[in-house]
Symmetry: C2
């Protein structure tokens, strides 16, 4: 292992490895249930604001904009713990989710499971109740 | 919402949205504890093999190769459940992890937490015991 990768993997300096677009992948889990709520991205500024404020900020690839989780919907995330992985290109945050994490109104974005169906795969809804109506929350 | 995005978000057809490199992001969590074990990637073939075999296959970006988790280390992952998210560009697998998920020998790749330290951030080890010695497992 090179001295550099030793520092990345075993060091105590936080050196997030942003990709070519300046982003790290972030997994948010529900501190109460352990469920994965969403997978999203942070740029350097979103990461700094998340650490400084204790509320989750992300960077939206589709809107190309910094984004405080819940700024439109009110469904904010209080960050209980932040971890990084061995090569520091991913971040895991454990959060207290207010309401629903998903823009469809569900608690988690992962509301469908994949089932093998004689060689093929199909989806089955699980935990798919909506906590809010996205048509009310996100005005056109 | 367009008919297409309605189908992606509310449909029962599994239509994984691979990125420009042909990959989807995968989060593997420990079915016993809910901990995030690793964040990695699957291409279409890795996803198919994972669904067909019930063992986790990934695509290594650094080695540019399909990879059965544990094929070198023996630390395999039995897949209990596979979910996809609203826009189907991420996959969450709940696994029974044999031994350690991380190539450093730790149970999870997320063995350091990020702590705010008067404006700056530093890392602190958590759950950092090694279950194997990587020097024994990965021969040079």
């Amino acid at each position: 292992m090179s001295a550099h990768s030793h520092e990345i993997e075993e060091g105590l300096v936080f050196l997030p490895k942003f990709d070519a677009a300046g982003l790290v992948t972030v997994v948010a889990t529900d501190v109460a249930t352990g469920d994965v709520l969403m997978v999203a991205y942070m740029n350097d500024e979103a990461l700094r604001r998340t650490i400084a404020t204790g509320e989750a900020w992300y960077f939206s690839r589709s809107r190309n904009a910094l984004w405080r989780k819940g700024e439109t919907s009110g469904q904010t995330q209080r960050v209980v713990e932040i971890r990084t992985d061995c090569d520091q290109d991913a971040v895991w945050i454990r959060v207290e989710q207010i309401g629903a994490a998903c823009h469809t109104g569900r608690r988690s974005c992962f509301y469908r499971k994949v089932e093998a169906d004689s060689g093929d795969a199909r989806l089955v809804f699980v935990d798919a109740d909506r906590l809010f109506d996205p048509n009310d929350v996100y005005k056109q």
